[in-house]
């Protein structure tokens, strides 16, 4: 039985402030989002965050470790953040034209009644000195099943045309 099943794909034909997956069925074991994104933020990269079920209360915590092409590594994190949790990186408007960030977000046990966690492997390539490779971990203290996920830019920039994201469901049986 196939276990890595596409639930939905969003292909942007213009700019928009978020990428949203809604009405996610509870029939899978885990979820995985693979996205390729660029924003209009005036920077070489954008921090992308996620929100579950439209929740904007202080329930998200996350940490990150990254290399940016100059520093060997650094990390940062927030606890009980209300905006959402970091979930990858996208190229910004200052990055080399036509370059996009690529990330994989893995969300196990998304339909359970306990708190949820996610992990992300992400990169953006700039064909220049500054780029980013990062690992992320996050947790959401909400206990409801995840039925919707929104991806947004942390600085309220817009995703631009040709950004794409696909949500997969993974079943253990």
């Amino acid at each position: 039985m196939a276990t890595f099943i596409k639930i939905a794909t969003v292909d942007l034909t213009g700019s928009q402030s978020s990428i949203d997956f809604t009405s996610i069925p509870a029939t899978y074991t885990d979820l995985c989002i693979k996205y390729s994104a660029r924003t209009d933020r005036a920077n070489t990269n954008s921090d992308i965050y996620l929100q579950f079920n439209g929740v904007t209360t202080a329930t998200y915590s996350f940490k990150r470790i990254y290399g940016n092409g100059t520093a060997t590594a650094a990390s940062d994190g927030l606890t009980n953040n209300a905006t959402g949790g970091f979930a990858g990186t996208a190229d910004g408007a200052s990055a080399t034209a036509s370059t996009f960030g690529n990330c994989e977000v893995y969300i196990p046990n998304y339909a359970g009644s306990t708190a949820k966690s996610w992990s992300v492997d992400g990169v953006n390539e700039n064909n220049a000195t500054s780029a980013l490779a990062a690992l992320y971990v996050g947790s959401w203290s909400g206990t409801a099943a995840i039925t919707s996920i929104s991806l947004k830019d942390y600085n309220a920039a817009n995703f631009v045309q040709y950004s794409t994201a696909t949500l997969y469901g993974i079943s253990k049986s």
Partner: protein
């Protein structure tokens, strides 16, 4: 389209236990992916893993390199000549780990294990080497090397097989 990501086995910890072993793993895949979602009883720890064929190799054939960040600083460290691979990450709070066993069924090369581990304390990437050429059909997970702490009730282990074709 060929099916390339198939569940092989899954296990949910019914009550606290120190270890679990996947046995008789099919050799029909190219790589394996093990997803762990849950916690342990004691706190910061990697997941200790031994692999083998028919039984696990308990010799000092495992080494692991770590890269991790705790929200403030980043670091790297290494274990070598160990009797367990120290893969990914678990804590007393909910976390998840994704562990990949590359080219696990070949009988000519040492085996590589990639781990991504996440909990409330750290995000971590690990790479482990197993200096053993046997095809892997047995994987033992233990909450720590000593077997002195437990995986907590409800922790899940799900093993998937990935086909290259």
């Amino acid at each position: 389209m060929a099916v390339t990501y198939e569940p092989i086995a899954t296990y949910t910890v019914p009550s606290a236990q120190a270890s679990y072993t996947f046995t008789s793993i099919s050799q029909a895949y190219t790589d394996l992916v093990l997803v762990v979602s849950g916690s342990n009883s004691s706190g910061d720890s990697q997941i200790s893993i031994q692999v083998g064929n028919g039984s696990v190799n308990t010799g000092t054939v495992y080494s692991t390199t770590f890269m991790y960040g705790n929200g403030t600083s980043a670091a790297s460290s290494r274990d070598s000549t160990q009797s367990w691979a120290h893969v990914a990450r678990l804590d007393t709070t909910l976390g998840n780990s994704i562990i990949q066993f590359m080219n696990y069924s070949n009988t000519t090369t040492y085996k590589t294990i990639l781990g991504r581990g996440n909990d409330a304390t750290l995000t971590m990437a690990t790479v482990s080497l197993v200096r053993d050429t046997v095809a892997t059909n047995t994987i033992k997970l233990q909450a720590n090397d000593a077997g002195s702490i437990n995986f907590t009730t409800g922790t899940t282990f799900t093993l998937y097989g990935i086909k290259a074709a």
